[in-house]
């Protein structure tokens, strides 16, 4: 514990210190009103230079924030410009405090601007203000501490205090968004808990804003459950996200995101026909809403559909376009996935293709934090090696992929690769090993109800059996028996 004598001194100091008279709240508001009108007529740096020398500058700026609070509720452009000026002003004024007053003020001004842009302007503008709001929020230690705390460790009193602050929720939702492609086990839990807490505590108090944050948390939960292979749970969360968005003003871009996520989920159910039917409309909506990164993701999905339909050349063009598009220039995950898929398709188109294309994809994917693309890469390499007749190396690549997926708790994906592994083991004549792999797959299928994946996998195994030479009658009979057992267990 700290020195009590010193803390007593704190107490004495604060009690005995004569409170500066300072301006009254009304006076501060009047001065803020005056500054507000000047923001339309004068350069911000001139006002800042003048305000810096004033003793009451902090009060005036706080009053300015209060005056501009309503900008978030109105599409008025003039008022929004005043708000931008006020933020600029708050950035230029030096703050001599140790409790983050300046950061808190800038955070709240950015929050109002974000609210305005989310409701009345473009996704891109809202995203820019969101970034500012998050930056200012995370520069305050107590906000960082709260966000770092697990949802289970937060008392209701603590959640009530922080969930009533929209800026803290902007920062929390952003963290969930940033981590959902990477640390999805954590996001699945935390996003679910955040959604539940907002619903139960009815916070933040503005119902429309609460609905937005709930939609955002539900969306993050859906993405992370998809990675974990719980597709039905993911679908449920997407439904909740869509429902929450019903009352949100300016929700068009966010509805487009949910539409896209539904398509991505259909891919996990191997329902390519449904994806083909909707992908162009969804992509167009993403284009209209300015969601460039997601447009590139939709193009990847389109490539997947071409591939599933056997239109490999078109798939290759789609993947290469994604790899070269501006959205993937600074995004190693997107570019790496596009390169990986292009390498896979090239290998199927041209048997002479070597592993260099995969190596290039690997180099890019290793620059980003998520580990699952590397598991996907190992599976693709395995497929390439199997198709080029290097079965032993293919088995190793598949095993490495299974290990990575299992480490990440992606049981469904691991099960899927296990079936490819089983296929390779059959091709190598190691039928018993293959049987063991398939048994493990069925166990996961029973535990997680990933029937759709199993159906797709069985189809794959059938194809594999067709590919395998039938010269060895005994081996062929054994493979057919394995497949029959698999289908029986599936029933």
């Amino acid at each position: 514990m700290i020195d009590l004598r010193t803390i007593r001194e704190w107490g004495e100091a604060t009690r005995d210190a004569e409170l500066r008279r300072g301006p009254t709240i009304l006076e501060s508001i009047r001065r803020a009103e005056f500054i507000c009108t000047r923001l339309n007529l004068q350069q911000v740096h001139e006002i800042a230079a003048e305000l810096q020398s004033r003793e009451d500058r902090a009060d005036v700026l706080q009053a300015l924030r209060l005056l501009l609070e309503s900008v978030g509720d109105s599409p008025d452009d003039d008022r929004f410009r005043q708000l931008c000026g006020a933020y600029d002003l708050a950035v230029r004024i030096p703050w001599e405090d140790e409790v983050g007053e300046g950061a808190d003020l800038r955070m709240n001004l950015a929050l109002i601007a974000w609210r305005h842009c989310r409701r009345f302007k473009t996704y891109r503008e809202a995203h820019e203000w969101e970034a500012r709001c998050v930056m200012e929020a995370l520069s305050q230690e107590h906000v960082c501490d709260f966000i770092a705390l697990s949802g289970r460790a937060r008392s209701d009193a603590l959640s009530r205090r922080y969930f009533s602050d929209g800026a803290v929720l902007v920062a929390l939702c952003r963290k969930l968004q940033d981590e959902r492609n990477n640390d999805f086990s954590w996001v699945a839990t935390e996003a679910s808990l955040a959604f539940e807490a907002m619903e139960r505590l009815e916070l933040p108090a503005i119902a429309e804003e609460r609905a937005f944050f709930m939609a955002s948390a539900a969306f993050s939960a859906a993405c992370s459950f998809k990675y974990l292979g719980s597709f039905r749970v993911a679908k449920k969360w997407l439904t909740l996200a869509r429902k929450s968005l019903e009352t949100v003003v300016g929700s068009r871009p966010y509805r487009a995101l949910v539409d896209f996520a539904e398509l991505a989920l259909l891919q996990e159910f191997h329902d390519h026909r449904a994806i083909v039917e909707r992908v162009d409309d969804v992509r167009q909506e993403l284009v209209v809403c300015g969601l460039d990164w997601h447009v590139a993701c939709a193009d990847l999905l389109r490539g997947e559909c071409f591939k599933a339909d056997g239109r490999l050349s078109e798939a290759l063009v789609a993947y290469r376009e994604v790899a070269e598009c501006p959205a993937s220039a600074g995004d190693h995950l997107l570019r790496g996935l596009a390169l990986l898929n292009a390498a896979g398709v090239s290998a199927r188109l041209d048997a002479k293709v070597d592993l260099n294309a995969f190596r290039m994809a690997q180099e890019v994917l290793e620059k980003q934090p998520a580990k699952w693309p590397l598991a996907q890469l190992q599976a693709s390499v395995g497929e390439f090696l199997r198709d080029s007749g290097r079965i032993g190396a293919a088995i190793e690549a598949y095993r490495s992929s299974v290990r990575l997926y299992e480490d990440l708790d992606m049981k469904s994906k691991a099960a899927y690769v296990r079936l490819l592994l089983a296929e390779a083991l059959i091709a190598a004549g190691r039928v018993l090993d293959a049987g063991a792999e398939i048994t493990q797959v069925l166990r996961v299928a029973e535990e997680h109800g990933v029937a759709a994946d199993i159906f797709a996998a069985v189809t794959l195994l059938q194809q594999a059996l067709e590919r395998v030479s039938t010269s060895n009658e005994n081996a062929h009979t054994r493979r057919l028996q394995l497949l029959r057992n698999l289908l029986r267990a599936e029933k």
Partner: protein
């Protein structure tokens, strides 16, 4: 007070303040850097009247006397306590105002009933 601080700005933090007795300058700095911003937080963020905001911050320091853990960040801790106390204060004020309203209405109802009773008595007479 402010001029004196600008002329001699010793870099003291609230955390430093916990380690040694404060000089006048340090106390002044502490006042300007910790106490006043916290009071403004209570006023502008939690919409408390100025005097009440000072009371809330004062209460936060009293709490600090018994609860503050030097291992943690005192500034972050104080902000959380001020927010907690300010929210409680506001909740209490609102509840009290609602009760006063309800009592006022009950009184008015009682008054009107009394008046009506007296009028009825007059009619009976």
């Amino acid at each position: 007070m402010a001029t004196r601080c600008r002329q001699s700005p010793p870099q003291v933090t609230a955390r430093d303040g916990l380690r040694a007795p404060m000089s006048d300058v340090q106390l002044d700095l502490f006042y300007r850097r910790v106490f006043l911003p916290l009071v403004r937080r209570a006023i502008w963020k939690h919409r408390l009247p100025k005097e009440d905001a000072c009371d809330v911050v004062q209460d936060a320091f009293v709490l600090a006397l018994s609860k503050l853990d030097s291992a943690k960040n005192p500034n972050a801790w104080l902000i959380q306590v001020v927010d907690h106390l300010a929210l409680n204060y506001r909740r209490k004020t609102l509840r009290r105002a609602a009760l006063v309203q309800r009592w006022k209405r009950a009184d008015q109802l009682l008054e009107s009933c009394k008046d009506r009773g007296e009028a009825d008595d007059q009619l009976v007479d």
